[in-house]
Symmetry: C2
Subunit: 391 residues, 2 copies
């Protein structure tokens, strides 16, 4: 974005989504209960952006008649796409990077996400995915004795030792999330998005996971080495906390609430086509957990109802970019819908690689993607200027 | 709509807007305070319609893959247009009849509305508008004495006699609203929209208003005869209430709240180019009145921010029909914006005449408008079918 902004002579505005970062509408109370959380919705965020852009156009000298473009990655990419859909008078177009706008309801199979993670691990080392698949049973066997449970807490340097069956389930959830996050950030160079990591981190992780048939403790020692790459690349981590899988700065509290209202993304695994423990998509239990946590029940059909699901062809000027390594690409738009709803696929890319600064390690596909993105941005601006001139 | 539905083999659904009619989300408490009224917004109404159409498509046999079209008049016409703008995946197009989507902020001059009313009266009889313009000073002169005030209360058969200066102001407001309403319902045949009325009611009214320079009492007796056409065409009204200018069924309470939040429509008169008492658009006093009535302050820029103001060219498949006699046409779309945002003007039409059933008294222009409307509806459905087939 910085490179492109310079090329286009553009002003870059980062709008902080309400309830994230410092934008807390009710200060410290913002997450206290549903009464305060009521204003945390994607619709409200889009309305905020519309008011903000309008305000900036009025108050920034020279901005009044200049075109604006929405850019975002991940949830921000969904917002960018939705912003162009709902407020086409405010932005001439949108770049929606790694935006899984179809990871809702039954728009894609719930297995897609974990399948892509598994493919990434399969591609990155011999038997890597098999090692991970075998680790779940190994954990269960060790968890069946007090000694085994103590050994795992110690080997994995857990800040709080495992005690209950729920702790063990959380431990497996934490490992799953680690593999997922590695797939998201499998960048071709050292980076620091969710965690500080080496280049192509899955390849580094998979060096430790080449022998799936080792005895349980030996296998899990290797799993620990792999996990250690993700959580301790800097070498400064003294113990690992199961409640943390990414940097705090993402503001997960707001996201968890949104996941319990609008942002319901069905996922499932079968342990055969993927390397995860089999788990069905169980909406009822998901809903019950939400009710326990926030006192609200999710509305799983609202996002497709509001934003159109697969039926979005009457919109225009949206670029959907997706990385082939990114599990979120499964819920993304990876084929052109119309001439102006265009899919950009970056086979060697992970989660919104295209939004990162240029790097000598960038694969060719992302360089091409960025060129295409700039081409479309210029096209949108040109058409907007022509339209203004005709008026 | 009934005629067209039969021709197209369509199902007609009338969706009741929340907070109107029987759709009261909090029952009798719905209008009690801002906490309950919070859910009365146009956005919420559109969301309701989206959920409703989705539900009907799922549950009505054979409806799943049939196209839906939004149709509405007046505020309902705005909703129809906005529904297509915000939910183009739910309806293939919209007929927005007499929808003043530009009667907001500074999108049209605030004088437009009363100017059109005045033109209607000018066209309908010699000196008719002049008589009305002169009536305001006549009222003021009579109101300066107790006898004159009593005389007016009696002559105009008011249910509650005028007492205070505020009563006199309300009386003048009631007369103004009567002239405005007559302009809205100036239909070519007997009708019963806001009130039961004869054909071309302004012509009937203006028969009493041919001599603007009569002495005050004589002039106001004529004004009473004119008003009597509007309020007492049926002959059953024993006294006139200043708080009522239209049938109760419109649900004005909800509208007054909406006018105090989103639906802020600036209007003004100068008494020179129009026949009304001069009144500036005074947002501050408007806002203060809203705060007194509901404890809320209006957001005058929100509608243009949300729905695009004049910058709506990237939408498609909306027909904006307007009657030349209708004061609301001043805030309507009366020129084509694109090939698929089409203006239909009915010079001899009042407020959404085109939505009424066919009548032998219909002017040619409304028959042509209806033909064009059906032509576009068929076009939208055909394109939708082609698109479905290609997929």
């Amino acid at each position: 974005m910085w490179n492109v902004a310079e090329e286009l002579g553009a002003l870059l505005i980062f709008a902080e989504h309400r309830y994230y970062g410092e934008s807390l509408p009710f200060g410290n109370k913002s997450f206290d209960d549903a009464r305060y959380l009521n204003y945390l919705t994607s619709e409200q965020a889009l309305a905020d952006f519309a008011v903000l852009v309008r305000h900036l156009k009025k108050t920034v000298p020279g901005a009044q008649d200049t075109p604006a473009i929405a850019i975002g990655g991940s949830y921000g990419g969904m917002l960018a796409a939705w912003f162009r859909m709902k407020y086409p008078h405010v932005v001439v177009g949108a770049l929606a990077a790694s935006a899984p706008i179809w990871q809702f309801a039954d728009l894609v199979p719930c297995s897609t996400f974990y399948n892509i993670v598994t493919q990434d691990f399969r591609k990155s080392g011999n038997c890597c995915a098999d090692s991970i698949r075998n680790s779940w049973a190994a954990i269960d066997r060790l968890a069946s004795t007090a000694e085994g449970t103590r050994w795992m807490s110690c080997t994995f340097r857990l800040c709080s030792p495992l005690k209950t069956a729920q702790d063990v389930a959380n431990f497996k959830g934490w490992l799953s999330e680690t593999w997922v996050n590695l797939a998201m950030v499998d960048y071709p160079y050292q980076a620091n998005f969710l965690q500080p990591l080496p280049a192509w981190p899955i390849q580094v992780v998979c060096k430790f996971l080449q022998r799936p048939k080792l005895p349980d403790k030996a296998l899990l020692k290797n799993v620990f080495q792999a996990v250690n790459v993700y959580y301790n690349y800097s070498g400064n981590t003294s113990c690992f906390s199961l409640s943390q899988t990414a940097t705090q700065s993402l503001g997960m509290q707001g996201w968890y609430y949104q996941a319990c209202t609008e942002m319901v993304m069905p996922m499932c695994a079968d342990g055969v086509n993927d390397m995860f423990e089999p788990q069905q998509w169980d909406f009822q239990s998901y809903s019950d957990d939400c009710y326990k946590a926030w006192g609200v029940r999710p509305r799983p059909s609202w996002i497709p109802t509001s934003y159109g699901g697969r039926n979005i062809s009457s919109h225009s000027n949206i670029l959907f970019s997706n990385g082939g390594l990114d599990p979120w690409s499964g819920g993304g738009v990876t084929r052109n819908i119309t001439n102006s709803l265009v899919a950009v696929v970056i086979p060697e890319g992970a989660h919104h690689l295209d939004l990162r600064s240029n790097s000598p390690y960038d694969p060719n596909s992302v360089l091409q993607a960025r060129l295409l993105e700039v081409h479309f941005m210029k096209l949108w601006m040109k058409k907007d200027e022509e339209y203004r001139r005709r008026k």
